[in-house]
Symmetry: C2
Subunit: 218 residues, 2 copies
DNA sequence: AAAAATTTTTAGACACATCTAAAAAATTGA
DNA sequence: TCAATTTTTTAGATGTGTCTAAAAATTTTT
């Protein structure tokens, strides 16, 4: 079994690998883990000793098969617990992250699978992210950022890239939630801000918002 | 906040305090924690520095008000999670301990209280132990051990003292569960074994069994 | 009340995960 | 290309929680 810290590193490397195909740099990992580069080097060596990552000095780090499986298992638990908190305990989507960060480390295969069943095998968490099944498979969503779209296109909101409480609270305040239909009325060349129509109301959103909202076109 | 280890020590001291009114000895605590007396001395000093226990060298340890509150909070979480596992996820009562030992350390007041509500404020866990409410109050059961009773008395099984998987599996195998009515047909002077009647069937149980079953008389 | 046995504490060490400061390697760019 | 900058690693230290071995205190036995 892996320590809490090891699991957090594996998860962070997993998340960074999409952006750093050729290996996750020490500094990037330090930034993600909110720690120092020297601490990262220490931990990465330990993970490498356990064959959870492939690591060569000065060349960044990549997950091994075992490391990837461990990371996916942690992510599966994190997202299942988020569904539990929202669907069963009435948490709002901006309140679940911190608690799920703790719950994701509970070690019990039976618990994870029974929870999955209890929740009726959800495919996505409250932020629209896919939930791996018990074999580690999950759908790679065909979703894009709202900022990719142009004037007059219509789409459905399916996920958030930034799931910080601040961003989610902004969305709540503006009645933006997953499943909502959005039409782009106007897109400003100068700052990429958009005028969108949702539920019959118009709303202006900045580029920072549209680059953090996943949508699918219809 | 307290570390995982600190919480486990506080819980252990709480459980031992009923037996050691004048202070829990270092050795007793080492036995309970499955560790060495020297480790206990170290930890007890740290707990004392944080005013969670009152400790005087060679005189054992007692919980302070703050320490007792912390212990009760952990016990509340442990027992609520046990109810969740059995009632919602279909665990058997002999499978919950290990998982609840992990879940009891999750830090979120909202989670604990919402879970309590979701479970409809249960008063007892699957082993018959009382669950503290959000203020830390819990009923001190008026229950006694089956071994206290004599021939021809009738009672209802309300709890187990030993909640090890082995004992619980023995009870399952013999169809003994909480709520069952038991009548003492015979009690052997020599070894305190009993012949009991339950659901119309007779069953012989050893003293080791009857000293681990809590009952209430009717 | 000593001696013997037991309990408890101290001393010193170790593993994990972290840190700061300094050195080494790699990259950038003039 | 070689000096400057950035990135990464090493070296040495810290805090938590544990251990073994030995010393000290307490309790039990004779």
């Amino acid at each position: 079994m892996f320590s809490l810290s090891e699991e957090n590193y594996l998860k962070a490397i997993f998340h960074l690998e999409t952006a750093y195909k050729s290996g996750v740099s020490t500094n990037a990992l330090a930034e993600e883990m909110q720690t120092k580069a020297s601490s990262v080097t220490d931990m990465v060596k330990r993970l490498s000793d356990k064959d959870l990552v492939n690591y060569k000095k000065y060349q960044g780090v990549k997950l091994s098969e075992a490391g990837r499986n461990a990371a996916i298992e942690v992510i599966r638990k994190h997202r299942l617990w988020e569904v539990f908190l929202v669907d069963k305990l009435g948490f709002n989507w901006d309140e679940v992250h911190e608690v799920a960060e703790q719950l994701e480390h509970i070690k019990s295969e039976k618990l994870t699978n029974e929870l999955d069943k209890f929740l009726e095998f959800p495919k996505r968490d409250p932020h629209g992210d896919p939930i791996p099944d018990s074999k580690g498979n999950f759908s790679v969503a065909n979703r894009v950022l709202l900022s990719e779209l142009e004037k007059d296109e219509t789409c459905i909101c399916v996920g958030v890239k930034d799931s910080s409480a601040e961003f989610l609270q902004y969305l709540d305040k503006n009645r933006i939630s997953l499943g909502k239909e959005i039409r782009i009325i106007e897109k400003e060349d100068f700052d990429q801000s958009m005028l969108i129509k949702m539920d019959g109301n118009e709303l202006r959103i900045s580029n920072q918002i549209s680059t953090n909202l996943f949508i699918k076109t219809i």
